[in-house]
């Protein structure tokens, strides 16, 4: 194979420079700074700091609250990812079959995509409001007195519903384009072989959608971990209290609300490690089972 060579050996590095600079300034440098300050306890105004070794990490990991927040994050991530992928897939498969009024149906489903997370949170807060929320009134008819902000379970429920609702359109768009990318001839061949639509879906369509699905899985886990910040922030109304929060929101609470820079740096280092491990697992274990055509 013939190799393409640059005339000057420096040129490729020069062309890479803007990208490398962005990665260094906006990712590597802050990450290094977070690792450094995770070993210190620092006065917020920057007058003094004390080296405390791994105290910030042990304090974080031994606090009862951190375990609770981590457990909630895991449950929250699971439900948000599973439900938003599942519901979006169902809607996409159904939308793919619609012939009359297809585009308006699809547009309506994609609409929510344009809503920013804090706005979605605000809509959630209004719908689930203790005093005037219509969803609360609806469940009250079945004898479920929802108390968002008081009851841990109810608040988690509202957060998950709002986050899922916000994420479905993105997944819908990708699944729909994935479905439309499956060639008609394969589908026709399958329908000659098998009458059951259900079975055709699981044996033919679903495996062919796997690359899209895998991509969305990563996007959705990242979404549940990080991008739901705005929704949670609006839902807890600035006072976490006994409400469920995610790990990322706790980093913000301790660092920006409480000005505990060392403790919150330690938490973000833990989070960095967690995401790193998660990414390895995803690519090592799951991607092997995905076939790209």
């Amino acid at each position: 194979m013939k190799k393409v060579q640059f005339k000057s050996p420096l040129l490729p590095y020069l062309l890479l420079l803007p990208q490398l600079a962005i990665v260094t300034i906006f990712f590597l440098w802050p990450a290094a700074e977070a690792v450094r300050s995770s070993f210190y306890l620092e006065d917020p105004f920057g007058f003094g700091s004390t080296f405390v070794g791994i105290d910030n990490f042990t304090d974080t990991l031994t606090s009862s609250d951190y375990g609770r927040v981590a457990r909630f994050t895991a449950v929250f991530t699971f439900f948000v990812t599973f439900l938003s992928l599942g519901i979006a897939l169902l809607l996409a498969v159904k939308a793919d079959k619609v012939i009359r009024g297809a585009s308006s149906y699809k547009t309506l489903l994609m609409w929510v995509y344009a809503v920013a997370p804090p706005v979605a949170g605000l809509i959630g807060v209004l719908l689930f409001d203790q005093h005037v929320g219509p969803i609360v009134d609806f469940f009250a008819m079945f004898g479920w007195q929802m108390q968002i902000g008081v009851n841990y379970f109810d608040t988690s429920f509202a957060m998950i519903v709002t986050s899922v609702w916000k994420q479905i359109p993105v997944n819908f768009i990708f699944f729909l384009s994935g479905l439309q990318g499956i060639s008609k001839s394969v589908q026709e061949a399958a329908s000659i072989d098998c009458r059951s639509g259900m079975r055709r879906f699981w044996t033919v369509t679903f495996p062919l959608l796997a690359p899209t699905g895998f991509f969305l899985l990563i996007i959705n886990i990242t979404y549940a971990f990080f991008d739901t910040f705005g929704i949670i922030d609006v839902m807890v109304k600035g006072e976490p209290g006994n409400n469920p929060v995610t790990l990322v929101y706790k980093v913000y609470l301790d660092g920006f609300r409480g000005n505990d820079l060392g403790g919150s740096s330690a938490q973000s280092v833990i989070l960095m490690a967690l995401v790193f491990i998660l990414t390895i697992i995803q690519f090592r274990l799951i991607e092997r089972r995905v076939h790209y055509t």
């Binding site: 917020p44 920057g46 609250d65 203790q130 005093h131 000005n259």
Partner: protein, 436 residues
């Protein structure tokens, strides 16, 4: 005010004459605050009033979001060398900014350096010490000062045939009648502030070692005795018996049912007065924060909540002089009286309080005087306030554990054990940040 205006314009004129070529420009100072909505409008009015009153200085107020956001922006700006001249910092953040030696110039110093007289005795009792250091030197200039009081729906009380309670024992007697009349008898809007910090003050109980934390952050520990635990046991009982409503940590979520006439009595801030007056359709009044008669020495005054204005360090002398003249303007009886009337926050000087009395304000609206009267109730050893670092997180721990008590997830004993353990750990961590 008129004399100062004359002097200022005279000085300005002299400056103009003296520098025939260079044009005279006012010194600009910036004021970062956390007052949104109606309060923000009044802040702008105060700034405009100051700018119109003299011409040597021009103050620009900038709204920075919530209290926490304002403090965080102020800290970030300070580290970048871009700090405003005046930063509004709330009660729970006081230890952070006062603990950072060199971040602020004490209000007392800035006034004295500018040749403006300062006498701590001019300020009312409950205001003097909250933002002062352990020697009693005033560091922050108290600005929006409020204290928790009990608001009540007069119609509801009349319907139940009861009087507003002075003590919690009285409350327990009248609450069933209010419940019978179809009301939730009581709600409150801030468990750490009303049922913890001011509970301690109202009963003259120690809140933390090291003189409630004023004597330094090293080895400061929270102190929780039987009275506060008994109080929370009682509150949980009230909740279970339908005599108390808890709607979460959101301030407004707890105030709304009172405004709507569902809750008969609500514990909120004296600064809520203006808002309630505009919203509710029923006659309402206010009284002191109740206390437990059974606790020895109870019935002492409360201390202020709200926020203070801090003069940030690292600014040129002429700007500091402007800060001093702004503080002087702000504490003048007329401005304080206007602020008090517009917002419900208490006037911070005796002179302003006297002016409000002389003007007959409290004859027409007696409820507006409750906050300041409660602040001037006789004090004790533990009524001047508290000074604890990482206090925002300590409050978060309290809110979390109180939430668990009320939802039945934990017992009062266990909740306070957790608050003590995690709170003390935070205090220990804070003392390390300042290098002590």
């Amino acid at each position: 005010m008129a004399y100062r205006k004359t002097v200022a314009s005279f000085v300005a004129a002299a400056a103009l004459l003296g520098t025939s070529s260079a044009s005279y420009a006012a010194t600009d100072i910036a004021w970062w605050h956390a007052m949104g909505g109606r309060l923000g409008e009044v802040v702008v009015d105060i700034a405009n009033g100051f700018n119109a009153d003299q011409s040597a200085c021009k103050i620009t107020p900038v709204y920075k979001g919530t209290y926490e956001e304002t403090l965080t922006s102020g800290i970030a700006a300070f580290r970048a060398g871009e700090q405003p001249n005046i930063l509004q910092v709330f009660d729970a953040g006081a230890a952070t900014i006062i603990g950072a030696k060199g971040a602020v110039i004490p209000a007392q110093d800035i006034l004295e350096n500018a040749g403006v007289g300062f006498d701590i005795e001019d300020y009312i009792e409950g205001v003097r010490n909250f933002y002062a250091d352990s020697d009693g030197k005033m560091i922050g200039m108290p600005f929006n000062s409020s204290t928790p009081i009990l608001y009540y729906n007069e119609d509801a009380l009349k319907k139940a045939g009861v009087e507003a309670p002075k003590t919690w024992e009285e409350f327990q007697e009248i609450a069933p009648k209010l419940k019978e009349a179809g009301y939730v008898p009581l709600a409150q809007s801030h468990l750490p502030w009303i049922f913890t910090e001011n509970f301690k003050s109202r009963h003259n109980l120690q809140f933390a070692t090291n003189n409630n934390g004023y004597d330094g952050s090293k080895d400061t520990k929270l102190v929780f005795g039987e009275p506060i635990k008994n109080h929370f046991t009682a509150v949980k009982g009230w909740l279970d018996d339908g005599m108390f409503g808890y709607y979460g940590t959101g301030w407004g979520d707890n105030q709304t049912p009172f405004n709507e006439g569902k809750v008969a009595m609500w514990l909120g801030s004296s600064g809520s007065f203006g808002g309630i007056q505009k919203t509710v359709e029923f006659p309402f009044s206010a009284t002191y924060l109740p206390y437990w008669d059974a606790v020895d020495g109870a019935g002492t005054g409360t201390f202020i909540g709200g926020a203070a204005l801090f003069s940030m360090a690292g600014k040129p002398d002429e700007e500091n002089k402007c800060v001093a003249s702004f503080f002087e303007y702000l504490t003048s009886p007329e401005v304080q009286y206007m602020w008090h009337k517009e917002t419900g926050y208490v006037p911070i000087t005796t002179a302003a309080y006297d002016l409000a009395k002389k003007d007959g304000y409290y004859e027409s609206t007696p409820a507006a005087e409750i906050g300041i009267k409660q602040l001037t109730l006789p004090g004790g050893d533990w009524t001047k306030g508290y000074r604890m670092g990482f206090y925002v997180q300590i409050r978060d721990v309290m809110n979390r554990e109180y939430g668990k008590i009320l939802s039945g997830e934990t017992s009062v004993e266990d909740a306070f054990a957790t608050i003590e353990e995690e709170g003390n750990k935070l205090l220990e961590r804070f003392s390390k940040t300042t290098g002590n």
